[in-house]
Amino acid sequence: MAAGEHVMPRALPLEELNPNERIKHGSRFLRGTLMETLADPVTGAVSEADGLLTKFFGIYQQDDRDQRDERRRSKLEPKYQFMARVRLPGGACTAAQWLALDGLARQYAGNTLRLTTRQTFQFHHVSKRNLRALIQGINAAGLDTIAACGDVNRNVICSANSLQSPAHAEVSRLAHDIGARLLPRTGAYREVFLGSPAPEPPPDDEEPMYGSTYLPRKFKIALAVPPQNDVDVFAHDLGFIAIVENGAILGYNVCVGGGMGMTHKASATFPRLSEVAGFCTPDEVPDVAEQTLCIQRDYGDRKDRAHARFKYTIEDRGLDWFREELAARRGRALQAARPFRFDSSADRLGWLQGADGHWHYTLFVENGRLADTAKRPLLTGLRAIASVHPGVFALTTNQNVTIAGVSEADRPAIEALLTSHGIANDGYISGIRQNSMACVALPTCALAMAEAERYLPSLVDKVEQIVSQAGLADDPITIRMSGCPNGCPRPYLAEIALVGKAPGRYNLYLGASANGDRLNALFRENIAEAEILTELDSLLRRYAAERTPGERFGDFTVRAAVVPAMVNGRDFQRAPDSSRSIG
């Protein structure tokens, strides 16, 4: 920190801050002019400022980028449409809720649902005309979309499937508690989307915790139950790692300052893994979460949004500063961190028996996309299952879904439906495909520079030929593809990552660990499919020939010095030499 910079960014005059801060402040707690712009029938869009506000309600304005150029030539505005993300802390819903969401997807959202890397549902392709009806439908099902996006605390994620063990159940409850405590309080959502009357006079202190400018940027919390690191706990602003002894949770290690997003070639931006700051007891967790969020509220950069995430606050001020600040706010320091061990960040697919004897089936959903295709009528198949299954659907942070809490007696019925719809996992799925993830990217994501979800499956087809020739068909190898460097499928934690640069072109990163505790490193820049396959072919053959027993591909590429071990995020976008000279 430069000397003299003691002013909290939040206390600076608004004019000096990023324009978004002014928009938030002037929005009357996120009301803006949404009533008017939603009602404007001449455009399918809302105003730019209002588009910023809807994010706080889990709603993104997008346009169909496949049609962008063609519509421009046709003198039509872009094909504006909205994405809505459900708030689903802990990632679980009931069968009735599943059916309701399925119905809404069919009615308003192009017959598709998307399971996300933060274990919730997204609706795409919703027209402005239908937006309110969709949101009301979601609310009628006992769910909502508040704070699923925006500069607030997002959906709190946790190791999937609360029914798996009592510890999982406890973590899931905690995810709900934290989520509820950090929820924005504004009535704007209910007024704009649910038709509640606007208060008279308008309140001026609706957000005691957030204030009128909310957070500098999004804030994400994850809870993990070792040895599973399915949530990639180090990838989030704030992580809690359950310390379980004999099935009971003693407390949580607290880790801070993680995040994935960066901008290509802007070396001041980088993915960063969070650092363990200490340990707290279960009952302390909600307060630790709130105080940490408030530290970021006060100290996060409000001028430069590319530098506004908590990871940069921690990077710039240091872990010790954070510990002191938190202790000062709570009147109590964190305890020393406890030992823990993660083996994998993957989901365990197929049937698994829980502690109470119930069964859980984790269904592979390629890239989280639920739609009916000729080969795999996933949407309809799951609808059929939801119609007979009395239990829970638990979404995973690997974009899969667990049909949870199936009794021994009901198992055959579920199996029959999986089979009759042809959606069961047992059709052959290679190790690499099981461990593949891609973000949404084109055509809906405004930030995509290249394809991801629509492309990765066909690329994996080709990689599967390589792995099967190399004798690695059943080896778990994580491969993640994103359409831009923002990192939505957490690519920088994949053994193989392809990050989009331009149509058909990707950066290839290698060398992350398989359990989410080491970032990968840039191997090749801006390459197209042919080169990707050539590189993977030679590397995977070498791996098959030279690996030590049990050695994972990511570890191998580091041991073989194909890429350096990426220890510090700050080095991620720097040549190793220059990082040394700066240090």
């Binding site: 049609q67 046709s74 003198k75 039509l76 505005e77 094909k79 027209s127 070639k265």
Partner: protein, 608 residues
């Protein structure tokens, strides 16, 4: 001092030498705005042209020494452009800052010095906001930039294969269009700060040094186009349906989106060298020709000899070519049916004529070929058969452009007629012909169809209400453009309707743009198929009745264009309702009121 080109044009002016001198001296004294107004005035029939002599946008541009034109996706180029603009301001040099998205032909034509800053995206593509400008540079439609000096700053990233491609292309295109590079292109890689700053300093030095001279000579620089307009305005247009002008196709662009049930085209015709001067409200007539395959199908359905001679306009022509060029072989009309019944002595057909309802049902979708298949023209000779047919009439299309914004162009909005009847696909003659024309040298035979009954108000302050669903919106595109270019102060209100918002909103982006610029003050829309119940423009008129009435009370004109069969009568009825309800008039008085509007030419229709 007239430049050589100008002198050249005057040489062909249809005046005596002395008149030419006087006119030339007169014109030289006018500024760009005055020239524009005058050209419109001369083009208008009588004094109908309403233009107050408000200075046009290009007049302001004249004062600016340089136009900084930027195309940016992620903001870098824009930032540099703003920085440069600020530096000009610091030195009290007037410069214009312009996003490529907003750049019109006129901007280029009126600028003296152009400073282009543009990045490259995608796989060597222009930024989204510069796409249209790129399209325009590669299809510049007669744009010549000999008067312009320019330089280019290209932003890019050398890790891409096509480094700074867009900047390079723009540079080459500007050169090809005759502009003079005053400084070589600079290319910036990812780390562009230093290079850009040096470039800014360099450009500043250059422009400030040479602009002093520029400012002094400013009054001398004639805007392009003005003289050409004045010259052509004085030559009467000689093109008619028999002597059509063959207008080159500049653009043939589908307007309806992917999921539309219709194919509507935006067609831009070149009027270069036609001397055609039109006004908003005018239409273009297109000389039709039947499709040879449709003619052959008809001939194959009969025993007629294609080469048999028939009479057309007192001349002998072979049947086949007469059917292509001169006779309507499409939908059968009741009159044709009766002539045919009489000539062939068919009693069932004659019987049909006695029941209009049955006849209408019978004729619905029935083309000549269907008729001759069912009732062969037994005993009829080719010449007698041809005598029965009606002539192939030209088709009219409202002009959708203002000649003030596109002096050498006429834009049309053409809905392509295609349907099926009697198990055969049917193609509307002219709309399909137009839709099939390519932009590579194809032309359409056209002539000007004046439409004095559909005119903007003489007083530019008069508000106007325009009801134009579907292709009915075409003339209103011309109206709004004209009112913008003449600086007319009256407010403009458009009612638009079609089937689906997402795919059928003709010129939507332009309307939104005009609304943003403040030249379209109100727009209401009705999309009939976006909800369970059908909603049309007449519903919106009733919903907005109170305001509509207020506008009419303020003297607004009311225009209707488009479908004559259902829309126009429904809108007419809605207008009467509005007068009755919001003017608190009896049914009869309301009717009188509306008739009065028509009489005063405040309610004008162009329906078909």
């Amino acid at each position: 001092m007239p430049n050589p080109k100008e002198r050249d044009e005057w040489a062909h002016a249809p005046f005596e030498a002395a008149t030419i001198e006087r006119l030339r001296a007169l014109v030289a004294d006018l500024d760009a705005g005055q020239r524009l107004w005058l050209s419109g005035f001369l083009a208008g029939s009588s004094g109908a042209v309403s233009a107050a002599s408000a200075p046009s946008a290009s007049a302001t541009a004249q004062r600016s020494v340089a136009t900084i034109l930027y195309g940016s996706q992620s903001g870098n180029s824009e930032r540099i452009a703003r920085l440069l603009h600020d530096k000009f301001k610091e030195r009290q040099v007037e410069a214009t800052l312009l996003d490529m998205m907003d750049c019109k032909k006129a901007h280029l034509e009126s600028a003296q010095r152009l400073i282009v800053i543009v990045s490259t995206h995608g796989d060597g593509d222009p930024p989204d906001r510069a796409m249209a400008f790129a399209d325009f540079l590669s299809h510049p439609k007669g744009l010549r930039l000999g008067h312009l000096s320019y330089c280019v700053l290209a932003l890019g990233d050398s890790s891409y294969e096509k480094f700074c491609e867009t900047g390079r292309q723009f540079d080459a295109r500007l050169e090809a269009l005759g502009a003079k590079r005053f400084r070589p292109r600079e290319e910036c890689d990812v780390e562009f700060d230093l290079v850009a700053r040096r470039w800014i300093d360099d450009v500043l030095t250059h422009v400030v040094a040479s602009s002093n001279a520029g400012v002094q000579s400013n009054g001398e620089i004639a805007p392009r186009g003005g003289d050409a307009e004045i010259r052509s305005a004085t030559v009467s247009t000689a093109h008619t349906r028999r002597n059509p002008f063959h207008a080159g196709i500049l653009t043939n662009q589908r307007l309806t989106g992917r999921d539309s049930s219709k194919d509507v085209r935006h067609i831009e015709l070149s009027l270069e060298d036609s001397h055609i001067r039109y006004e908003p409200g005018d239409a273009v007539g297109v000389v039709p020709k039947n499709r040879p395959d449709a003619v052959d199908a008809l001939l194959n359905a009969t025993a007629f000899r294609p080469q048999a001679l028939v009479r057309v306009d007192s001349q002998e022509t072979e049947l086949r070519s007469a059917l292509i060029e001169h006779f309507d072989i499409g939908p059968v009309t009741p009159a044709l049916l009766q002539r045919y019944a009489a000539a062939t002595g068919s009693s069932p057909l004659a019987e049909l004529g006695r029941s209009p309802d049955a006849e209408r049902r019978y004729l619905y979708g029935r083309h000549l070929v269907d008729l001759v298949r069912e009732y062969p023209p037994a005993g009829l000779a080719e010449a007698a058969f041809a005598q029965l047919l009606r002539p192939l009439a030209p088709r009219l299309y409202s002009i959708a452009s203002s000649q003030k914004s596109a002096p050498d162009e006429a834009h049309l909005t053409v809905s392509v007629v295609q349907y099926e009847s009697f198990n055969a696909p049917r193609y509307g003659v002219v709309s399909n012909h137009l839709a099939d024309l390519a932009t590579d040298g194809a032309s359409a035979p056209i002539y000007l169809h004046r439409n004095g009954g559909f005119r903007l108000p003489a007083d530019p302050r008069t508000p106007i209400i325009m009801v134009g669903p579907g292709t009915g919106v075409a003339p209103f595109r011309a109206f709004v453009a004209e009112r913008e270019l003449t600086g007319a102060g009256g407010h403009n209100w458009l009612f638009y309707g079609d089937r689906q918002f997402a795919s059928d909103f003709l010129y939507q982006a332009e309307w939104l743009d005009a609304r943003k610029r403040g030249t379209l003050h109100r727009i209401d829309v009705a999309f009939s198929r976006d909800q369970a119940e059908k909603i049309y423009v007449q519903h919106r008129l009733r919903e907005r009745g109170a305001e509509l009435w207020a506008w009419l009370q303020e003297g607004a004109n009311f225009y209707v264009c488009g479908d004559a069969e259902r829309m126009a009568p429904d809108v007419h009825a809605a207008l009467i309702d509005v007068a009755r309800i919001h003017g608190a008039l009896t049914e009869e008085r309301a009717l009188d009121y509306v008739t009065g509007l028509q009489r005063d030419r405040r309610y004008q229709k162009d329906v078909y």
